[in-house]
Symmetry: C2
């Protein structure tokens, strides 16, 4: 792998679990959902079935809290063979509204990192999920002004990244993507000949997981908060076989 970081002119950040905590909100909601269904089934079975329904529904509902909520409701009905009560389903809808209103909890040091990069690089956010929810989080985050462009996409495929680069007239060789998901933030970007840095989050949704073997093969930053590490990576010139910084 031949990387010349000094070429980088535009840096894009994933949002959920890269700029702010997000998976925790889903994990908490899932725990509440499991509590609701414990009178009917054991935890492992509920968790596995919800995961299946979620994946199956991605093609209909896409990513985001609204689709997740419809999947929770569908799971609850299926696992209780329709015996779940209206009031219990109402609790699931309330759970969705709580998720949507959760405070945006920035990861450590994010503002310091962005303020050091601002002006030196063109800064973007590229995130997937529900449009209104992502816009609302960005607006509530207080960091929207650091970014030159915001892109909310339905899925992070190579083609989606290519369209964004073309729209903003950014060459792949000048582009770096930073995010917590190898599947969404790293692999499709490397496919285009651009660069990507993986910043793992402490928990990853199963659907976004790749094997440990794959994990080790790509440039990784331990934490986005370590700006010195990032700056040193950005300033380094061509280096062979970079695995991590």
């Amino acid at each position: 792998m031949h990387l010349s970081n000094s070429n980088i002119k535009a840096i894009a950040f994933d949002a959920d679990d890269t700029l702010w905590r997000n998976e925790d909100i889903f994990i908490h909601a899932q725990d509440e959902f499991i509590n609701l269904l414990l009178p009917y089934h054991d935890e492992a079975y509920i968790r596995a079935h919800l995961g299946e329904v979620q994946i199956k529904n991605l093609e209909h509902f896409g990513y985001g809290i609204k689709g997740f909520t419809l999947s929770m409701i569908e799971t609850a009905i299926e696992l209780t063979e329709g015996r779940i009560s209206g009031n219990e389903i109402h609790e699931i809808i309330q759970l969705a509204k709580c998720m949507l209103a959760s405070p945006v909890d920035l990861l450590p040091n994010i503002e310091r990192v962005l303020s050091q990069l601002k002006g030196k690089y063109r800064l973007l956010v590229i995130t997937k999920g529900d449009l209104l929810d992502q816009e609302s989080k960005l607006s509530r985050s207080g960091i929207a002004d650091y970014f030159d462009d915001i892109e909310i996409v339905s899925d992070k495929t190579s083609d989606a990244y290519l369209q964004i680069l073309q729209r903003h007239q950014i060459s792949a060789e000048n582009f770096l993507m930073i995010g917590n998901s190898l599947k969404s933030d790293v692999l499709p970007v490397l496919d285009l000949g651009a660069q990507a840095l993986h910043v793992p989050y402490h928990s990853t949704w199963d659907h976004e997981k790749v094997t440990d073997d794959t994990l080790l093969r790509y440039p990784q930053l331990e934490a986005l908060s370590d700006i010195d590490q990032l700056i040193s990576w950005l300033n380094s010139s061509t280096r062979e076989n970079r695995q991590a910084v």
Copy 2:
């Protein structure tokens, strides 16, 4: 009102009920929903309550089928005081999946209109709703290639239009928006000093309705399918007090 149509370089179209039928899908789903709840309440009461829940939930869920479905479920629970069965709620989720999979039914003559404008004007789609659903409809419509840019926004405010014009470096004086909703497609665009043409659809969601008095004050095209009418409007030079073409 002083309009010089010859300045127009970019034409943006709303999608739902302007390029293809959409409200009919919601009306059909709503009828099915009302049938489901008729054992509990009368039609007018169900309809009114669903409308209220929908408007109240817009701030949480935004526009689109997923939010509408969550509102139907919430309404069903409230109107039955939780007595609605899981199986009945499952029918509502199935209704959502049917809505999302509905064929895209283009309005008459749309392809002919687009093919005559293509090359002479920069053509855009500006639509609101769920990202994945709008992308999917555009892709299934078969007309995506006529457009230079697609913009899916969470709400059609003047500010949202301004951001789009700035992003694409289009001056307000060179911009024309065409759509079926005075509230979303016409008024916010005229506010920016750009031009807008209202093409009424046979049915409008209450939330998008304005008074008849407002309706009559803005440039209106009877049907988008009448390309001669549109071309004559586009080619006409400055004209005072244009009300309709």
